[in-house]
C-alpha cells in the first residue's frame, strides 16, 4: 500500500521527519519498500485569480493576464496557454520562485513585462490533469501557498504490509501504529453523527449475520454530478495509487484510504425495494462494474434488491446500479463482511480489488458508522449532497468477538528471552489499546476491534517484543547440545558430497536444471508416464522429469552454442514417477554426461574421443565407495540409449541405473555433432545403510609372482565371465587377475578376440616356488579351455 507522507502527517498532527518515519515503520513491522520523492522542485507557487485577459500587442498566440495573487496590486503575466479566462483560479510562480529546473524572474516577453508564470499541472509535477494552465477551481483563496496546500513537496512510501495487518491499510491505521509507538497523541478520527436532511430511508436485511453482521446504508440526494473532485483529494488518491474517476467514486475511495473502510455508492434511482445481503441462488448472473458478466456460484455473497444482485458484496459493485455522470441520488453502503466470506469468493473469481483486499484481511467492525458519516460530510461539502437517516442493520451476536487472552508475565521472558518490566508491559498494552486487567501471574487482555491478528498469548509476545524493540533483545550465543541419530538421508547426503567432490576432481561441472521439463522428452514407449503440472509456466516446462538426461543434454547444447567443445557435466536432483504399486517416488538421482575428448586439448597428448570405458571408469570411481558387488549387464530397453552401446548397472544384484551412448536418433534434437556418453544412478536404491568403515587386513610379507597368459576366445564371451570363473576356482594362491590387453584376433572375420591376463600369485607364509605357481596357472588355463573353448596362445615364465 502506498502512503503519502504529508497525508499521514495530517493524522499524526505533527511533522514526521522522513528518516524517523521509515525507521519507526520498520520497527513496527510495516515493511518499507520504496520511498520516492513526489513531484518537482518548487518554490514560491501560490494560487492566483486571473482578473483580466487581453491579447498580446505583438504576438497572436500570447495573452497578457492581470492576476490577483493576494497582494496589494495585480501582477502582469504573459501567458501562451489557450485555456486562460477571466475569473480562473490558477497556480502562479512568483519572481524568485522555481518550477522544476526553471528559475522565475521578472522579465519581458515580446516587449511586454511579465512578473511571473502561470503554471500547468505537468509543470508542478501533477500527472493526469490535462494540458494548459491548471484550473484550481474556487476552493483556494488567492495567495495561498500551493506547495503547502497541495503538499507538492510530498514523499510516497510503499508499505509492503503482511497479511495479518489489515488494520494498517489506511492513513488512520498507520498513524495509529505510529502514535502507539511514539506515545504521541493522535488526531481523533471520529466524525460527528449526521443530522438527517431528509427522511427517506431504505430497509436492509442481513439475515443471520453470518457473512455480514453490520450493514449501514444512507440515501444521499441532490448531488451535483458536474462538480469536479477537488484537486487536493485527487492528488492524495493519486499518490496512494488510485486513479481519480468522478466525484462520488473518488469520495468513496478517499474514505477508504483515510479510514480503512471500503465504501460503495449505488445509483439510488437504479435500485428497487430494500437491500438484502444474501448468498447467490443457483444460476444467478450479474454484470460487474468492469463489464465482466459472471455466473455466480452459490457461495458468492451478494447485495441484492428486489430485482436481483446489485453488487458482489465487499468485492465489486454491479454495472446496472453503478454511479454515472448523471447520478444525483446515491445509496451509500458501509458494511462489515467477514473475512472468510470474501476471501474464497474473491479468489475464485480472481477479483483482487482494493475492497476485497481489505475485507479479506479484516476491516474494523466498529468503523462503519464513522466511515459513513465521513462520507456524508464530504458529499455534502463537495457536491451538495443531502443525506437522510442512516439505516443500520446489525446482528450483535454475529459480530466478531475479541478473545480474552491470558498473558502470564513469566511467559514473556520465557518466549522472548528478554525481561521486560511489568510497568512497561502494561504501558505497551495500553498504547496498543489492548484492554487488560490484572490476573494471577499477569493480565487478562482483550485486543481492540481493529486487530484481527491477536488471538493467543504468543501474539501478545510479538506485540511486546516489537514495542520493546527486536534490536534491543540480546541474542543468546550459548547453545545446549542434544545428540541425534543420523537418518539414512543424512548418510546419503554425506556420500553424495563425497561423490560430488570426486566427480569435480574428475573434471565434471555440477549443473542445476529445472525439475519440470518438456513432455516431448518423456513420451517414449516404455517410459513411466511423467506427472503433469496443471498450471505450468510454459508448455515446455509442464511435466515432472523422470530422468535427468534431458536437462544435462540441454545444458550441453546451450554450452556448445557458446563455443565449448568438450564438456563433463553432472546433476543431482530428484526424478518423479509412479512405481509399479502406483506409489509416488521422488527418487534422488545422480546423472553424468561426457562429451568430446578424454582430455582437454594440450601438448604432448593425442586427442582421443571419450568412449564407454572412460565414462565407466568415472562411474566406478563413485561406485567403489559402496564396497559392493557392481555389475554391468545388458540393458533391455531405454528411451535415451543406443540399444547396443549401453549397459544396466547392478549393485548387489539390484538395478540402480544405466550407462551408455545417447541414442544417435536423439543427437539431432539436441544439435550434437559427436556422441554423448551418459550415466544415471537412482541413489536411494544404493545399499547405504551405514557409512562403510575400512577394516585393515594384513598383507603378505613374501614376494608375489606374476604370470601373464594370452587366450583366444569368442568375441561375444564377456571378460567378466572369465574373471568370475577364475575367481570361482579358488586357486589357492591366485590373489589377483587383471586384464592387460584385449584385441581382435586377425580381423573381425574370425569372430575371435585375444585377451591377455595377468595372474598374481602370493602366499601369506612363504615365498612361492616356480613349480607351484606353474601348476596353479596350468589349472586355470585348463579350466578356461574347458569352459570357454579358450585357445592358449602364449604364456610367459
Amino acid at each position: 500500500m502506498k502512503i503519502s507522507h504529508r497525508w499521514l502527517e495530517a493524522y499524526t498532527e505533527r511533522p514526521l521527519a522522513l528518516d524517523t518515519l521509515t525507521t519507526q515503520l520498520t520497527q513496527l513491522g510495516l515493511e518499507v519498500g520504496t520511498v520516492e520523492l513526489y513531484g518537482k522542485p518548487l518554490k514560491k507557487v501560490v494560487a492566483g485569480c486571473i482578473k483580466q485577459v487581453v491579447p498580446h500587442p505583438n504576438a497572436d498566440r500570447l495573452r497578457v493576464c492581470a492576476v490577483d495573487v493576494g497582494q496589494a496590486s495585480l501582477l502582469q503575466i504573459v501567458c501562451g496557454a489557450a485555456n486562460v479566462f477571466e475569473g480562473m483560479y490558477a497556480p502562479v510562480a512568483l519572481p524568485g520562485g522555481q518550477v522544476g529546473d526553471l528559475l522565475i524572474q521578472k522579465t519581458e516577453i515580446r516587449g511586454v513585462a511579465s512578473d511571473g508564470m502561470l503554471c500547468s499541472a505537468a509543470e508542478l509535477g501533477i500527472e493526469g490533469e490535462g494540458a494548459g494552465i491548471l484550473d484550481l477551481g474556487r476552493l483556494v483563496a488567492t495567495g495561498t501557498d500551493l506547495i503547502d496546500f497541495l503538499h507538492l513537496d510530498d514523499t510516497v512510501i510503499d508499505l509492503e504490509l503482511t497479511p495479518n495487518r489489515g488494520d494498517c491499510l489506511s492513513m488512520a491505521g498507520v498513524a495509529r501504529e505510529l502514535a502507539a509507538l511514539s506515545g504521541q497523541p493522535l488526531k481523533p478520527v471520529n466524525y460527528s453523527p449526521i443530522k438527517p436532511q431528509h427522511d427517506q430511508e431504505i430497509t436492509v436485511d442481513i439475515g443471520d449475520g453470518k457473512h455480514c453482521s453490520r450493514y449501514l446504508a444512507c440515501i444521499v440526494h441532490d448531488i451535483d454530478p458536474a462538480v469536479a473532485t477537488p484537486l487536493w483529494m485527487k492528488e492524495r488518491l493519486r499518490r496512494c495509487g488510485i486513479a481519480p474517476v468522478a466525484v462520488v467514486v473518488d469520495i468513496m475511495n478517499y474514505v477508504m484510504l483515510s479510514l480503512g473502510q471500503p465504501m460503495h455508492a449505488f445509483d439510488f434511482t437504479r435500485l428497487s425495494g430494500g437491500i438484502q445481503v444474501r448468498c447467490a441462488e443457483p444460476s444467478e448472473k450479474m454484470v460487474l462494474l468492469n463489464d465482466q458478466q459472471v455466473e455466480l456460484t452459490e457461495n458468492t455473497l451478494l447485495i441484492a434488491d428486489a430485482q436481483g444482485p446489485v453488487a458482489m458484496a465487499g468485492i465489486m459493485g454491479g454495472k446496472h446500479s453503478a454511479v454515472s455522470n448523471t447520478t444525483t441520488s446515491v445509496l451509500l453502503e458501509s458494511a462489515y463482511f467477514s473475512p472468510l466470506s470474501i476471501t474464497a469468493v474473491a479468489q475464485s473469481y480472481k477479483l483482487h480489488t482494493e475492497a476485497a483486499y481489505r475485507f479479506e484481511r479484516g476491516v474494523d467492525f466498529m468503523l462503519q458508522q464513522n466511515a459513513i458519516c465521513y462520507a456524508c460530510e464530504l458529499l455534502s461539502k463537495i457536491c451538495g449532497g443531502k443525506f437522510g437517516k442512516i439505516t443500520e442493520a446489525v446482528v450483535a451476536e454475529a459480530l466478531p468477538v475479541r478473545p480474552e487472552i491470558n498473558l502470564t508475565y513469566a511467559n514473556i521472558e520465557a518466549c522472548l528471552g528478554q525481561k521486560i518490566e511489568r510497568s512497561q508491559v502494561a504501558q505497551t498494552l495500553s498504547s496498543l489499546q489492548i484492554k487488560h486487567r490484572p490476573a494471577r501471574g499477569g493480565w487478562i487482555c482483550v485486543p481492540p476491534s481493529y486487530r484481527f491478528d491477536l488471538e493467543i498469548e504468543e501474539d501478545l509476545f510479538e506485540e511486546l517484543g516489537r514495542f520493546y524493540g527486536y534490536d534491543r533483545i540480546q541474542g543468546n550465543k550459548r547453545i545446549s547440545l542434544s545428540l541425534q541419530d543420523h537418518s539414512p538421508e543424512d548418510i546419503l547426503r554425506i556420500m553424495l558430497r563425497y561423490w560430488v567432490e570426486r566427480l569435480v576432481t574428475l573434471g565434471y561441472h555440477e549443473v542445476i536444471t529445472y525439475s519440470f521439463s518438456n513432455p516431448a522428452w518423456f513420451d517414449s514407449e516404455g517410459m513411466a508416464p511423467a506427472l503433469q503440472l496443471s498450471n505450468p509456466i510454459s508448455p515446455e516446462l509442464s511435466v515432472m522429469r523422470t530422468s535427468l538426461f534431458p536437462g544435462l543434454l540441454q545444458v550441453l547444447a546451450y554450452n556448445l552454442k557458446r563455443q565449448q567443445k568438450r564438456l563433463k557435466l553432472f546433476e543431482t536432483g530428484r526424478t518423479y514417477y509412479m512405481d509399479a504399486q502406483q506409489k509416488l517416488c521422488q527418487q534422488q538421482t545422480l546423472a553424468g554426461l561426457f562429451y568430446g575428448t578424454v582430455l582437454p586439448q594440450q601438448w604432448g597428448e593425442p586427442m582421443r574421443p571419450a568412449d564407454f570405458y572412460d565414462l565407466k571408469n568415472d562411474l566406478t570411481m563413485i561406485l567403489k565407495s559402496l564396497h559392493a558387488d557392481v555389475r554391468y549387464v545388458a540393458l533391455e530397453q531405454h528411451a535415451f540409449f543406443h540399444p547396443r552401446a549401453s549397459a544396466g548397472v547392478q549393485v548387489n544384484g539390484v538395478s540402480v541405473g544405466a550407462i551408455g551412448l545417447l541414442d544417435p536418433r536423439l543427437e539431432s534434437l539436441f544439435e550434437l555433432s559427436q556422441p554423448a556418453w551418459l550415466f544415471e544412478l537412482a541413489l536411494e536404491d544404493l545399499p547405504l545403510t551405514t557409512k562403510p568403515i575400512p577394516r585393515y587386513q594384513a598383507f603378505s610379507r613374501y614376494p608375489s609372482i606374476r604370470r601373464d597368459i594370452s587366450i583366444i576366445i569368442n568375441k561375444e564371451t564377456q571378460v567378466s565371465d572369465i574373471l568370475d570363473t577364475i575367481n570361482s576356482l579358488k586357486v589357492a594362491h591366485c590373489t589377483q587377475v587383471c586384464v592387460l590387453d584385449v584385441y581382435e584376433e586377425d580381423g573381425a572375420a574370425t569372430g575371435k578376440k585375444s585377451v591377455m591376463l595377468g595372474l598374481v600369485f602370493q602366499d601369506q607364509t612363504q615365498t612361492l616356488g616356480g613349480d607351484q605357481v606353474a601348476e596353479e596357472a596350468e589349472k586355470i588355463m585348463q579350466h578356461l579351455q574347458q569352459c570357454f573353448n579358450a585357445q592358449i596362445k602364449g604364456r610367459d615364465t
Binding site: 542434544s482 573434471g507 565449448q564
Partner: protein
C-alpha cells in the same frame, strides 16, 4: 698357466678400460669369483712346498687386494660418471610448460553455499533433512497454520499437479515431517528445491531454500537471535556484520521476524525470515505447546549466494553456462 706377474697387470689394464659397471662385475667374477683366476691359484697353494707357501700366498693375497681395490675405485668412478652424465643430460628446458592431464570441474555455487550453511549448523548439532518436493496441502499449508483461503496463500504462487498434489512452495514443509519423525527435543535444517509459479528477471520458478527448526523445552527468541546472528557472521565471514531484526509475519511462527544485513552503502538487505514456532504447528503434529517451544528460520540460498559471490543476475544460476560455473572451480566455501 699365466703367472701372477702377468695376471695382475692384465687385470688392471682390463679394469682401467672397462666402461660399464656390468663389465667390472664380470671381471670380478673372472678374477676373484668362486672359480676365478686368483681364487684357483690360492686353492693350489697347498700343492707348493711348505717353504714357498708363505711368500707365494703373500703375493697372491696382495694381488687379490690390488685387483679388489682397482675394481672398487673404477666402480666408484664409473658410477660418479654415470651420475654426472644424468645431471648433464636430464635437463628440463622449459619448466613453464603446463602440466599434462585432466582439469577439475566445479561444484555449483548453490551447492557450495548450501554446504557452507550445512557445515555451520551441523557443528551445532543440527541434522540435515531433505523431505519430499511433491507435497500435499497438509504439509505445505494447513499444518503450518495456513488454512485454505488464508491471505498468506496468495503470497505463494503454487504449482499444482494434475493429481491434486503440489510442489512445495517452501522448505517449511519439512518442519512437519521432522516433527512427525523424531523424538523431541530435536534440531534440523532442511535444504532443498522449492517451487513457485513466477518467472521473471528476479524470480525463478525453482529455487533453493534452507529451513531450520529447533524444538526444546526452554528456548527463546533470544536464542534464535543469537543463532541467526552467529550464522550470518559466519556465512558472510564478517564479525562486524550489521544485522537487523524487524517484526514481520509468517503464519507458522509467532513472534516472527525478518532479518536484514547492512551492505557497504548502508542499505538494509533482507536475507531471511524466522520466528518462534506457532503453537498451532505443534498442535498439528500432536505435540504439546505447553511442554515444547521452538524456533524456526528460513532463507533462500540463491539470495545469499548472490550477496556472497556478487552474482547480479538470478538467471545465471540456472543457465549453467560453463563460463559461469568455472569461476567457482577450486573454491571451498
Amino acid at each position: 698357466m699365466k703367472t701372477i706377474d702377468t695376471i695382475v697387470p692384465e687385470a688392471l689394464e682390463k679394469i682401467a678400460t672397462a666402461t660399464q659397471v656390468d663389465e667390472l662385475e664380470q671381471l670380478r667374477v673372472h678374477y676373484l669369483g668362486k672359480h676365478g683366476v686368483i681364487t684357483e691359484q690360492l686353492k693350489q697353494l697347498g700343492s707348493l712346498p711348505p717353504q714357498e707357501r708363505p711368500s707365494a700366498g703373500n703375493v697372491l693375497n696382495q694381488s687379490k687386494l690390488t685387483i679388489q681395490s682397482a675394481l672398487r675405485d673404477k666402480k666408484d668412478a664409473l658410477e660418479q660418471q654415470a651420475c654426472q652424465s644424468r645431471l648433464d643430460q636430464n635437463i628440463l628446458e622449459d619448466v613453464s610448460l603446463p602440466g599434462r592431464g585432466g582439469c577439475a570441474g566445479s561444484v555449483n555455487p548453490i551447492t557450495l553455499c548450501r554446504w557452507r550453511i550445512e557445515d555451520f549448523f551441523v557443528q551445532y548439532g543440527f541434522s540435515v533433512e531433505e523431505g519430499p518436493e511433491i507435497e500435499d496441502d497438509f504439509y505445505n499449508f494447513s499444518a503450518l497454520n495456513i488454512p485454505e483461503h488464508h491471505p498468506a496463500r496468495a503470497m505463494h504462487d503454487t504449482f499444482y499437479l494434475e493429481n491434486g498434489l503440489l510442489l512445495r512452495t517452501h522448505t517449511s514443509s519439512v518442519q512437519i515431517h521432522a516433527l512427525q519423525k523424531y523424538e523431541l527435543p530435536m534440531r534440523i535444517i532442511a535444504p532443498g528445491r522449492v517451487y513457485r509459479c513466477d518467472s521473471d528477471i528476479t524470480h525463478s520458478p525453482m529455487f533453493h531454500q534452507v529451513e531450520g527448526l529447533l524444538v526444546d523445552k526452554h528456548t527463546s527468541f533470544a536464542d534464535l537471535k543469537g543463532m541467526v546472528e552467529a550464522f550470518l557472521d559466519y556465512f558472510f565471514d564478517d564479525k562486524h556484520l550489521k544485522v537487523r531484526f524487524r517484526p514481520s509475519y509468517f503464519p507458522f511462527t509467532e513472534p516472527s521476524a525478518e532479518v536484514d544485513i547492512q551492505d557497504k552503502n548502508g542499505n538494509w538487505l533482507e536475507v531471511m525470515g524466522c520466528g518462534m514456532v506457532h503453537p498451532n504447528v505443534l498442535k498439528a503434529v500432536n505435540r504439546s505447546p505447553q511442554t515444547w517451544r521452538g524456533y524456526a528460520f528460513g532463507l533462500g540460498i540463491e539470495r545469499l549466494a548472490m550477496l556472497l559471490c556478487q552474482v547480479d543476475d538470478l538467471r545465471l544460476f540456472f543457465n549453467n553456462d560453463v563460463r559461469f560455473l568455472e569461476q567457482f572451480s577450486d573454491f571451498i566455501l
